[in-house]
C-alpha cells in the first residue's frame, strides 16, 4: 500500500494500480474513452490526461501506475487544458449528428464534450467520412462517428477470443473494420454495442425506436442459460425497446450473450397467443379464461376418475420460473400424479436417486476464472453457457483446460489436451484417467472422499483399462492444480449412459481433489429441482410415496392427458418424434404457452396464453443456487396471464387445498420455506458401477438459438451465422502454452 493524493484527497492504494482505478474507487471522475475496467489498457484516446506533480507533461491516468507520495491533480488548469485540447482533437472528425444518433442522450462523447468541449469548432476543413460496414443482423454501424478507442477490437481479442474487428489503415485513414465484407458472428458480439462510447456501434433491431431519456428501465433475469445473466429491460409505452446488461460481478460481470440481449424480439411475433382457445370437433375457437380453465379442470378431473391419476402427466420447460413449476407440480401431485418432468434433453435416468438436491457447478461462477486446471467433459461452453466460457477463457491465461468429449468443439480458448472419443469409448477414456489417478494417488486425498465414495469393486472395474499418455497427462494436470475442477456439459448430460459418465467424473474429481459440477440445460433447471418438477422427488427434495414416470417413459409409453408449460416437446425433447406422437395420441392436451404454431394447434385441445418472463414476476435459480427474483417489465399482451395465476385458479377449480396465493412472492416464500425445513439432506454416496457399457448413444447437440420457443422466434438472432450453424472459429490447435492476452 502506498499513499497518494488526488485533488487534495489523501488516499491509500495498492502499489502498481493505475491512477484512474484509484480515482474511480474513490469517486473522483476522470473523463475517458478507451479505458474500460474489463479490457487491457490502450491509452490511445488521451482523454484522461492529468497533472502529476514533478511531471513535465500531462500523464494518461489509465496508464500511469501510482507510486508512493504521488500528488495528482485532475482539476488544475494544466490538467483541464490538456483534456480540453484532446477533446478538440477528438471532435475534429466526429459528425454533429447527435439529433439522429441512437446513442444521443447516453453518449460518453456527448457527456464529456458538454464539460470539456468548445462551443465552436476552430476547424473549417472537411470532416472525414467513413464507409459503413455491415456487421450482420445484430449490430448497426455508423463508422464516421468512431473515435478509434479500440474497445471493440480489444473485446474481441481479450474477452470473446474471436478477433473479427481490427484497426485497418493508419493515421487519417485508420478505420475500425473487418476489412473484408463480413459480419461479426461471435455469440457475445452485442457487448461491443455497450462498450462503444459513441454511436458508431448500436443495436440494429432497436434502431430509431426510442431516445435514451424516454425509456424506463426494469431489472430482470435472462432465462436462456443456467448463468442467470442480469438484464436491464428498457421499455417505452409498454413496449420492450432493448435489453442491456445489468452489472453483477458474481453472475454475468458486465456482459450478456447475444441470445440474452435479443431474445425479447419474440415478444410480439405473429405466433404470440392473445386469447385462450379451445378445440371443438377439430375447430379452434377463441374463448374466455373461465370456460377454458373450466374445461381443463373438468377434463383433468374426469380423466383422474376414469383412468386414474397415473394417466396424466405434466411437462415444463426448464426456462419456466420456479413459482410456475412449483404450482404445476402442486396441481399434479394434488391430483395424485407424480408424472411431472422438465428434463427434456435427458436420456438416462438410472442414477437419478443419487443426484444431489439440485444440479450445481461445485464452485462459484467467478472462481472459473481462477482455475489452474479444468477438465471439460462433453461441454461446449461457448454454445451452452457463453458467459461461463468467457470466464473459463480467463483461467487459461495461467491455467490449463483439457477436454474429453464426443464432438469437435470450437472453443474460444486453446486446450492443453483433447480426447475426442466416440460413443462406445467415451467411458473407457474417462476410466483411463480414473485409473491413472487411482494408481498414483490412492491415499493422498483419501480422507476427503472416504465418506462420499465406496470404492469397492473399482480396482476390478479398472483392471482391463489401458492408461495412455494423454490420460496420464490429464491426471497429472488435475493433481498438480491447486484449484482444479471437473465440469460436465450438455453432451455428457444427454448421453445415454449419463449416469455412468457422472459417476466416473465424480471419481476423477474425488481422486484428484478437484471440484465437480455440471451446467444443466435451460435457465432454471436448478429451480425445477427445488420446486419439485421432477417425478422422483417433491419440492426441496422431499420423498414421494411412489416415483412418477420420467419424461422418456411418459412420451414412449404415452399418457391420456398432458399439461404442457412453456414447452413445445416436438422441438425440444431429445425424443421429439415420440413426444409429438404421444401428444397426438393423448385424449386431452392443455398447453400453457406464449407462442403456438401449427404443430401445437394439432395436438393441443386447450391453449392458454401465458405471460413471458418479461411480463410476469418470478424467480430463477442459477447454477450456483442463487435465487434471482424479477418482476414484470411490461404488461402482457391481449388476455395473456402469468402462468402462476393460471395454475392457481386451476388449483381452485380442481378443489385442491392451499391454493390461495395472491402473489408470486407468496409462492416463492412457500418454496423457500420448504427448503429450509428439509435442508440439504441429500448427500449421495458414490457407488462403483458394475461395468462400463460400450453401447452408448448421444443425441445430436441442439443449435444454441433453438433451445426454447423464444429464441426460435427471435427474428434477428435467427438471421445470424450461428443460427444457421456456421462456425466462425477455427478449431484452435492444442497448445501447451497458455493463452496470451492479445495473442489471439
Amino acid at each position: 500500500m502506498v499513499s497518494i493524493e488526488i485533488d487534495g484527497k489523501k488516499i491509500e492504494a495498492e502499489q502498481g494500480s493505475m491512477i484512474i482505478e484509484v480515482a474511480d474507487a474513490h469517486g473522483i471522475t476522470i473523463p475517458r474513452f478507451c479505458y474500460h475496467k474489463k479490457l487491457s489498457i490502450a491509452a490511445n484516446c488521451r482523454m484522461c490526461l492529468v497533472e502529476v506533480d514533478g511531471g513535465r507533461k500531462p500523464l494518461p491516468a489509465c496508464a500511469t501506475p501510482i507510486s508512493d507520495g504521488m500528488v495528482i491533480n485532475t482539476q488544475s488548469d494544466f490538467a483541464q487544458d490538456s483534456q480540453k485540447s484532446v477533446m478538440e482533437f477528438l471532435l475534429i472528425n466526429h459528425p454533429l449528428d447527435c439529433p439522429i444518433c441512437d446513442q444521443g442522450g447516453e453518449c460518453e462523447l456527448q457527456d464529456v464534450a458538454l464539460e470539456y468541449g468548445n462551443d465552436v469548432s476552430r476547424f473549417s476543413e472537411k470532416k472525414r467520412a467513413v464507409v459503413d460496414e455491415d456487421l450482420g443482423p445484430l449490430i448497426e454501424t455508423e463508422m464516421t462517428r468512431c473515435i478509434h478507442c479500440t474497445r471493440c477490437v480489444r473485446f474481441g481479442r481479450e474477452i470473446a477470443g474471436i478477433r473479427e474487428l481490427g484497426a485497418v489503415g493508419r493515421g487519417e485513414h485508420m478505420e475500425i473494420s473487418t476489412f473484408i465484407e463480413q459480419s461479426v458472428d461471435s455469440e457475445v458480439s452485442g457487448n461491443i454495442i455497450d462498450l462503444c462510447p459513441v454511436g458508431a456501434l448500436t443495436a440494429k433491431p432497436s434502431r430509431y425506436q426510442a431516445r435514451a431519456w424516454e425509456m424506463t428501465q426494469h431489472d430482470s433475469v435472462s432465462p436462456h442459460d443456467c448463468i442467470g445473466a442480469n438484464i436491464h429491460v428498457h421499455t417505452l409505452r409498454d413496449r420492450v425497446i432493448r435489453v442491456v446488461p445489468k452489472d453483477n460481478e458474481a453472475v454475468n460481470e458486465v456482459w450478456l450473450a447475444d441470445r440474452d440481449r435479443y431474445s425479447y424480439e419474440a415478444i410480439d411475433k405473429s405466433e404470440r397467443l392473445l386469447t385462450p382457445m379451445i378445440k371443438h370437433n377439430g375447430e379452434w375457437k377463441e374463448t374466455d379464461w373461465e370456460s377454458a380453465l373450466e374445461r381443463t379442470a373438468s377434463k383433468l378431473n374426469m380423466m383422474v376418475q376414469t383412468d386414474g391419476a397415473n394417466q396424466i402427466a405434466a411437462i415444463a420447460h426448464p426456462s419456466s420460473t420456479t413459482e410456475e413449476m412449483y404450482l404445476l407440480q402442486k396441481v399434479m401431485r394434488g391430483l395424485g400424479s407424480n408424472n411431472i418432468d422438465h428434463r427434456l434433453r435427458i436420456t438416462d435416468f438410472s442414477c437419478q436417486q443419487f443426484e444431489p438436491l439440485h444440479p450445481e457447478l461445485g464452485i462459484e461462477l467467478s472462481e472459473l476464472e481462477n482455475l489452474d486446471a479444468a477438465l471439460l467433459i462433453g461441454a461446449n461452453l461457448r454454445k451452452e453457457q457463453p458467459l461461463a466460457s468467457l470466464r473459463l477463457r480467463k483461467a487459461t491465461r495461467f491455467g490449463r483446460v483439457a477436454s474429453v468429449g464426443l464432438y469437435p468443439v470450437y472453443h474460444n480458448f486453446s486446450l492443453s489436451h483433447e480426447i475426442l472419443a466416440d460413443a462406445e469409448t467415451w467411458l473407457i477414456q474417462l476410466a483411463g484417467i480414473t485409473k491413472y489417478l487411482y494408481q498414483h494417488q490412492p491415499d493422498k486425498n483419501k480422507e476427503q472422499w472416504a465418506d462420499t465414495m465406496d470404492i469397492e469393486g473399482l480396482e476390478e472395474l479398472l483392471a482391463p483399462i489401458n492408461v495412455s499418455q494423454e490420460h496420464r497427462e490429464i491426471g497429472e494436470m488435475l493433481l498438480q492444480g491447486e484449484h482444479s475442477s471437473i465440469i460436465l456439459g450438455a453432451t455428457a448430460l444427454e448421453f445415454s449412459y449419463a449416469g455412468q459418465i457422472r459417476l466416473m467424473a465424480k471419481a476423477i474429481a474425488n481422486l484428484s481433489g478437484s471440484t465437480y459440477g455440471f451446467l444443466p440445460h435451460g435457465g432454471n433447471s436448478v429451480g425445477a429441482y427445488l420446486a419439485g418438477a421432477i417425478p422422483h422427488r417433491g419440492p426441496a427434495g422431499a420423498d414421494v410415496e411412489q416415483d412418477g414416470q420420467h419424461i422418456k417413459d411418459i412420451f414412449e409409453q404415452g399418457k391420456k392427458g398432458f399439461v404442457l408449460l412453456k414447452t413445445e416437446p416436438g422441438k425440444e425433447s431429445v425424443i421429439g418424434e415420440a413426444a409429438k406422437q404421444s401428444l397426438h395420441n393423448a385424449d386431452f392436451v392443455v398447453s400453457l404457452t406464449c407462442h403456438a404454431d401449427d404443430e401445437a394447434f394439432e395436438y393441443a385441445d386447450v391453449i392458454l396464453p401465458i405471460a413471458s418472463f418479461l411480463e410476469s414476476s418470478g424467480s430463477y435459480v442459477n447454477v450456483n443456487g442463487l435465487w434471482q427474483e424479477f418482476s414484470a417489465s411490461i404488461n402482457a399482451p391481449g388476455e395473456a396471464k402469468p402462468a402462476w395465476k393460471v395454475l392457481r385458479v386451476l388449483g381452485n377449480l380442481l378443489n385442491l387445498k392451499n391454493f390461495e396465493y395472491v402473489s408470486a412472492q407468496e409462492v416463492r416464500k412457500e418454496v423457500k420455506g420448504r427448503l429450509s425445513a428439509v435442508g440439504d439432506r441429500i448427500k449421495p454416496k458414490w457407488q462403483c458401477p458394475e461395468r462400463l457399457p460400450r453401447d452408448g448413444f448421444s443425441p445430436r447437440p441442439v443449435n444454441m438459438y433453438q433451445i426454447d420457443g423464444w429464441l426460435r422466434r427471435a427474428p434477428s438472432l435467427q438471421q445470424t451465422a450461428l443460427a444457421k450453424g456456421q462456425e466462425i472459429l477455427k478449431r484452435p490447435r492444442l497448445s501447451p502454452f497458455h493463452n496470451i492476452v492479445g495473442g489471439v
Partner: protein, 167 residues
C-alpha cells in the same frame, strides 16, 4: 505447428521463399510466432508483386493469428501493396529535405509526363508512383527509389532520363 500439416501458404510460395519464411518463424518463440508477420508479408509480396486477400489469409493461417491481424499490418505499412503495381515501383520521398530540394517538381513531372499521381499506375502497367516518407538519404536529396535501387541528387531532367532508360 507440426511439419505434417500443410498450410495454404505452402501452395502459394516457392520452396526457396518458404525456407526463408520458416527461418523467420524459427527466430521467435512458438507461441509468439506472429511476430514474424512483417518479414513474411514482405517475402510473399516479393514473390507475388502485391498482397491479395487470399495471400494475407494464408499468412495469417501460417502464423496462427486472426486474419484481421494480417490485414491490419498490411494496411498500416506503406511498403505493402494491396493493388497490382507496375513493373517499376517508384518511391518518391516528399519529406522536408527532399521537398526543399525540389521533390514537388519531380512529382509534378510524373503527373505531366506519365499522367500518374501518388498511388497510381501508368496505363501500360510499367510505372507506379508512391509518395513515401524519409528514406534516410537526405544527403542526396531529392531522392527516389526504383524497386530496390536508390537514385539521389535528382533533377527533373535526370528523372526524365532515368524513366526513359527504364522504358
Amino acid at each position: 505447428m507440426t511439419n505434417s500439416e500443410t498450410t495454404k501458404l505452402q501452395e502459394l510460395l516457392s520452396a526457396e521463399a518458404l525456407e526463408q519464411a520458416a527461418n523467420w518463424v524459427s527466430k521467435y518463440p512458438e507461441e509468439r510466432k506472429r511476430a514474424a508477420i512483417i518479414p513474411i508479408l514482405t517475402i510473399v509480396q516479393e514473390e507475388h508483386g502485391y498482397l491479395t486477400q487470399e495471400l494475407m489469409d494464408a499468412v495469417a493461417e501460417y502464423l496462427s493469428c486472426p486474419k484481421i491481424a494480417a490485414y491490419e499490418v498490411a494496411t498500416f505499412y506503406s511498403m505493402f501493396r494491396l493493388k497490382e503495381a507496375g513493373k517499376y515501383v517508384v518511391s518518391l520521398c516528399t519529406n522536408v529535405s527532399c521537398m526543399l530540394a525540389g521533390s514537388e517538381d519531380i512529382k509534378k513531372w510524373f503527373k505531366d509526363e506519365l499522367g500518374i499521381g501518388p498511388g497510381e499506375t501508368t496505363e501500360d502497367g510499367i510505372f507506379t508512383l508512391k509518395e513515401v516518407e524519409c528514406m534516410a538519404a537526405c544527403g542526396g536529396a531529392p531522392m527516389l527509389e526504383v524497386n530496390k535501387q536508390f537514385h539521389e541528387n535528382l533533377t527533373v531532367d535526370k528523372v526524365a532520363n532515368l524513366i526513359h532508360e527504364l522504358k
